[in-house]
């Protein structure tokens, strides 16, 4: 492979939360790595200079949950299509859940996904390995082999293990290999048949509800198991205020538990379902304003240390059904940064904290040396205009999935350049900007 370009990103506001940097500093890149922050090192001559005046320069985003639909559901999207969407969104690393077809429960499937991502080259794709075979919650997988094949974490996607003994054994086995386990906290008996938050809007629209206890019961169980086993667990996509309190309390007691929240949960509430908006059908469901505010607070405070897209691109037919029959999920990569920017604008958190939750925070959860810009690290960089306002249209979406409730809404914050391992993988054309 030819020597990669030497690149200088000049004139921007460099924000690197892991190193406590928020200052007007240049960034210099060679051989795919960061070589210096600030003045260029002696003898460094850039092949290419990116002028970032008025822009924010920060670590490329690390998304803990994005479904790429390959293998198995290529009619919805592909690794190629969705990694391009990721690049356009400033996301350089994607962790995809194992609920593909076939399931990521063998090294072969993990390698297929990893290598397809590598070949396309627009974003780093890391498949989460299945915690149990076929995600059926009965027999654990060959986790050591999955880890060797490139799975940084184990996960049950959104099919929680109902047998508590199996869950305990799975956590113990994963802990033997220092693997973090991603858990979707949902008591399936309590949520059965539900499609919205059990509350005022669901009651009025006659939509079957999912109570908050469906989440808190599962969180309580899994925190107890984490305490018992000493395993490291990560709650994927919290939705309730009470769960954030339980997590904070567990963290205080030294239990190795972390959590993320999907960006839409920080912005939307149950009210957005009104009018039967199928694009607001998500799992877990959109909850009350009080829940949303508690989630915001938990993210600002760091109890919840990552914000992810929970990207779920769908074909048009999947949403062409009455609300309860419509497939859940939002095509969310390209609104990840704008939704988080709306929180910065509202004063929920400062820009540096917001960037930490999108980069360093999730990288720490994966246990990978990503999401930061010290010398010697992979030059995964996002350059964005924090003041740009734009309107999301179907034409503007790079993702194959057009299922988003944010179409037509004004958004704040737009990516200008994305670099993965020192290569420019996305550049917004001037006409678009």
């Amino acid at each position: 492979m030819a020597e990669r370009e030497r690149i200088s990103i000049r004139g921007g506001r460099l924000i690197d939360p892991a190193n406590g940097i928020d200052a007007a500093l240049d960034l210099h890149i060679a051989n795919g790595q960061v070589v210096a922050v600030g003045p260029s090192p002696a003898g460094f001559a850039a092949d290419r200079v990116l002028e970032a005046d008025g822009q924010v320069v920060c670590p490329g985003f690390v998304d803990l949950c994005a479904r790429l639909r390959e293998p198995g559901l290529e009619h919805k999207a592909t690794i190629a299509s969705e990694t391009l969407a990721a690049a356009a969104a400033g996301v350089t690393t994607l962790c995809c859940p194992p609920d593909t077809d076939p399931v990521v429960d063998t090294p072969a499937v993990a390698q297929l996904i990893y290598q397809t991502g590598q070949r396309r080259g627009a974003a780093r794709v890391l498949p989460a390995g299945a915690l149990t075979q076929q995600l059926q919650g009965r027999q654990i997988t060959e986790m050591a082999a999955l880890k060797r094949a490139g799975c940084p974490v184990m996960s049950q996607a959104d099919r929680p293990v109902t047998n508590t003994q199996v869950q305990r054994r799975a956590l113990e086995y994963a802990a033997s290999f220092d693997l973090t386990v991603f858990l979707h906290p949902e008591d399936l008996d309590l949520s059965q048949g539900g499609c919205v938050h059990e509350g005022e809007v669901g009651t009025r629209l006659g939509l079957p509800g999912i109570p908050q206890a469906a989440e808190t019961v599962a969180v309580a169980r899994d925190l107890a198991l984490a305490e018992q086993t000493g395993a490291r667990i990560h709650f994927r996509g919290l939705s309730t205020a009470r769960a954030t309190e339980m997590l904070a309390e567990a963290q205080r007691r030294g239990i190795a538990a972390s959590a993320d929240v999907s960006a839409h949960q920080l912005v939307l509430t149950e009210s957005d379902v009104d009018g039967f908006d199928v694009n607001c059908r998500v799992v877990p469901p959109l909850r009350t304003r009080a829940d949303r505010d508690a989630l915001r607070h938990a993210v600002a405070r760091g109890t919840v240390s990552a914000i992810c897209s929970d990207h779920q691109p769908h074909d048009a037919d999947a949403k062409l059904a009455p609300f309860p029959a419509a497939a859940p999920g939002i095509s969310a990569l390209e609104t990840l940064l704008p939704l988080v920017m709306s929180l910065v604008q509202e004063g929920v958190m400062d820009l540096s904290t917001a960037i930490a939750r999108l980069s360093w925070g999730p990288a720490e959860i994966l246990g990978l040396p990503l999401g930061r810009l010290d010398a010697g690290r992979s030059a995964d960089v996002c350059v964005f205009d924090a003041t740009a306002t734009w309107t999301l249209t179907e034409q503007a979406l790079v993702s194959r999935g057009h299922n988003t409730p944010f179409l037509g809404r004004p958004l704040l914050g737009r990516v200008t350049w994305t670099l993965l391992g020192g290569r420019v993988v996305f550049r917004r054309s001037r006409e678009e900007a």
């Binding site: 005022e200 009025r204 079957p208 509800g209 039967f276 029959a325 419509a326």
Partner: protein, 334 residues
């Protein structure tokens, strides 16, 4: 919001009838007034008026129902419309695409109005959103969400007996959680200014934050019917006995079944209603069902008049927007 479907045209005329929610007192009163006019049609020698002559109404029932479908059919026929009855099983393929495919096929036959019943809440809104703009959709029951024509026929029955709504206390007894009928009744009663709307059931059959619907919640039938002017009993589906919602029909009847004795706590002139079909010995005993306070059969005949009123209003709105002078003429003859 992009998915919000408007039931009214720009001038506030009824285009679709999907839910009572959001409709004002004036419009609801207009429906009731027009229904009075149609009540006489059944007693004429020729039980027909030409308001929907030349129009095609398709009854699109994804859930089986005999009585509701029959009253819609009769209502449409008395308005001189041509009627298609389609019973489509929900079991196999009646999901999203099929629903739209069915719709497109019928649109190709130039149907003017769909009367839709479906097991999913929001199904009528979904169809209204995707249907040709010239077509009107009448919701004949969608999931737990809404059954607005039933709600209005109940209002019509109440008004014929009680007159003004503002002095009324109405108690609705039974499975509020799963009931589309209850939601439509509650919305209509509140819009028409009823003094107090109560719901009575064990907590397993009351939806979360029920008070937000504008009701008072009771778990005791005796307390709930006290001084009530109207008692509406809801049908209890057999399947509620599974799923840990209720222990047995026996205990339900003992606690929430309406008997002559319990009825004594209500106002002396209180009426008893039920959307049917009745489970005798579960929701009420036969003495009450067949007794002098019961207006249950009247509800059925009123149903035809109310459905005629609603269908003719929607078709009238279509005609207002049509260029056909003949239709315009018919529209003004209500």
């Amino acid at each position: 919001m992009s998915t919000l479907v408007r039931q009214l045209d720009a001038q506030g005329n009824l285009k679709h009838f999907l839910t009572v929610e959001g409709l004002g007192r004036d419009l609801l009163t207009e429906i009731l007034d027009r229904s009075e006019g149609f009540l006489g049609v059944a007693r004429q020698a020729v039980k027909k008026v030409p308001l929907c002559r030349g129009k095609v109404v398709a009854n699109l029932f994804f859930e089986t129902s005999t009585r509701t479908r029959t009253t819609f059919e009769l209502a449409a026929k008395r308005l001189s419309a041509d009627v298609l009855n389609l019973n489509i099983s929900t079991s196999a393929t009646a999901k999203g695409e099929t629903l739209l495919d069915t719709l497109r096929n019928l649109e190709a036959m130039h149907v003017d109005m769909f009367v839709v019943r479906h097991a999913d809440s929001g199904a009528a809104h979904f169809i209204a959103r995707h249907a040709d703009p010239h077509v009107s959709i009448i919701n004949a029951g969608d999931g737990r969400h809404s059954h607005p024509t039933q709600g209005m026929l109940d209002m019509f029955t109440i008004r014929r007996h009680k007159g003004d709504f503002s002095a009324l206390t109405v108690a609705i007894v039974g499975d509020i959680l799963h009931s589309r009928v209850a939601r439509s009744q509650i919305q209509a009663l509140n819009a028409l200014g009823a003094r107090e709307v109560r719901v009575i059931a064990p907590r397993t059959l009351i939806p979360a934050q029920a008070e937000s619907l504008g009701v008072k919640v009771f778990h005791s039938l005796t307390e709930g019917v006290r001084d009530a002017d109207v008692i509406i009993l809801l049908r209890l589906q057999r399947e509620r006995m599974s799923g840990a919602l209720l222990p047995s029909e026996h205990e339900y009847f003992r606690l929430f079944g309406l008997t002559e004795k319990r009825l004594r706590g209500a106002k002396p002139d209180a009426i008893v209603m039920h959307p049917g079909p009745i489970n005798r010995g579960v929701e009420m005993d036969s003495q009450v069902a067949d007794g002098p306070r019961s207006v249950i059969l009247e509800q059925v005949s009123n149903g035809i008049a109310v459905r005629m009123a609603i269908m003719s209003m929607c078709i009238g709105t279509q005609n207002l927007h049509s260029q056909d002078p003949h239709s315009q003429d018919l529209a003004t003859r209500t």
